[in-house]
Amino acid sequence: MASAIPHGEEGVSTVWAVSDEALLAGLASGDPDAVAAFVRRFQRRVYGLAFAILGDTSAAEDVAQETFARAWRHAPAFDPRRGSVAAWVLAIARNLAIDTARMRGARPTDPAELPELLTPDPEPGPDERAIAGDDVGRLREALAALPADQRRALVLAAFYGRTAREISEADGIPLGTVKTRIRAAMLKLRSALEVEDDGRRDV
């Protein structure tokens, strides 16, 4: 995959040996090679998430661009103890995408798209394991194992920023039922992540 190979004489091994946190620190200090490597490392995830939420290539690109712009502005404030760099960047992308979606008018939800989130990534990049780790695999399995109603509620909230009330009104389900589904889904996913978690990120 051409986009996964960094240009320049440094070669692949040096760049990919640098952890996400160190790359982000490079971003914070304005190192141009760190900025380029950071974009390469995360662009498919950032654009992928924006596209999943917006379904529109140019809107998704705008969001992805703005996500990286915010990443280099806010890099100095990143706290590795609160979560991974990947999650941090994607949260930025998600919030921007949701804001964009709201401004353009709600995009009709398509239940058929949700299963797409369950399939293993058909084109994992060389960084897949480096960024995702085993947590993501366990989470994907746990999401697949959820009852469809719980999975739908969770995905609508997590990816599309819907509140419980919005889901209840759009789907014609009692609010209490939606809340119960969201809670049950989240608690199951949390258990899936609890295995082998010491809460620390290694450089």
């Binding site: 200090s29 304005g30 706290d79 590795p80 509140t163 996913l189 450089v203």
Partner: protein, 231 residues
């Protein structure tokens, strides 16, 4: 006085809070409680981590051709001036290899960007530490004028980068632990172009920090970087 939510109510609402799926009113009541209750905060933070990780499940997708170039052009258009970039990059590389003792003062960067960048990457690639973080250094008016970088490993180090635009003058670098008295670490001089300073530091100290401050001779705090609580 508005009655705030109870722990029980907040714990039940926690999954929705973590997802942002609550109503405005629910959120406001919960936040009032969370501002006072560390245990409930821990519960919500824990679930917020689940939300974060769930986002990683979205399918990856190749951006349109030229995307990377457009992002980098945008970055180049707003990057700081050349001279300061060299000074910062040089400071990063130098602080990482500081083998012992403190060094101070404004670096006169003479190396090319590429050399420094490559050296820096190499050092980071070899580094075998546990924890690397940065905290923004802000004025009392909350304007960011620099950063404090901290690396915990063998050895641990800390360094302070102040940008051009900060008030020049002599400053004392003070470490403020969460418990106990503040410690004066060194004196640095902020020039018109800013300044950099760094030192190797004993393992374990970084974990006890609440903040790093640059204090003027009168003892007034000019700049502060708040270090996130690790507990």
């Amino acid at each position: 006085m508005t009655d705030g939510a109870t722990c029980e109510e907040v714990r039940e609402l926690a999954p929705e809070l973590a997802l942002g799926a609550t109503s405005g009113e629910e959120r406001a009541r919960a936040l009032a409680h969370l501002s006072r209750c560390a245990e409930c905060r821990r519960v919500v933070d824990d679930l917020a981590r689940v939300t974060d990780e769930v986002l990683l499940l979205a399918p990856q997708r190749e951006p349109p051709p030229g995307f990377e170039g457009r992002v980098l052009s945008r970055w180049r258009a707003q990057r700081p001036a050349r001279g300061r970039r060299r000074a910062i990059a040089a400071a990063v590389a130098a602080a990482l290899v500081a083998a012992g003792g403190a060094w101070g003062g404004t670096l006169a960067a003479t190396k090319l960007d590429r050399q420094i960048g490559g050296y820096y990457r190499e050092i980071l690639g070899r580094v075998n530490g546990k924890y690397f973080s940065a905290a923004p250094l802000r004025t009392e008016g909350d304007r960011q004028v620099g950063s404090v970088f901290m690396y915990e490993g063998k050895p641990s180090w800390i360094f302070v980068v102040v940008r051009k635009g900060a008030v020049p003058g002599m400053r004392e670098v003070v470490l403020v632990p969460r418990r106990g008295a503040a410690v004066h670490l060194a004196t640095m001089h902020i020039g018109r172009e800013g300044a950099t300073w760094g030192t190797q530091i004993s393992s374990g100290v970084l974990g006890t920090l609440a903040a790093v401050r640059l204090v003027d001779r009168g003892g007034g705090t000019m700049l502060e970087a708040v270090v996130r609580d690790r507990s």
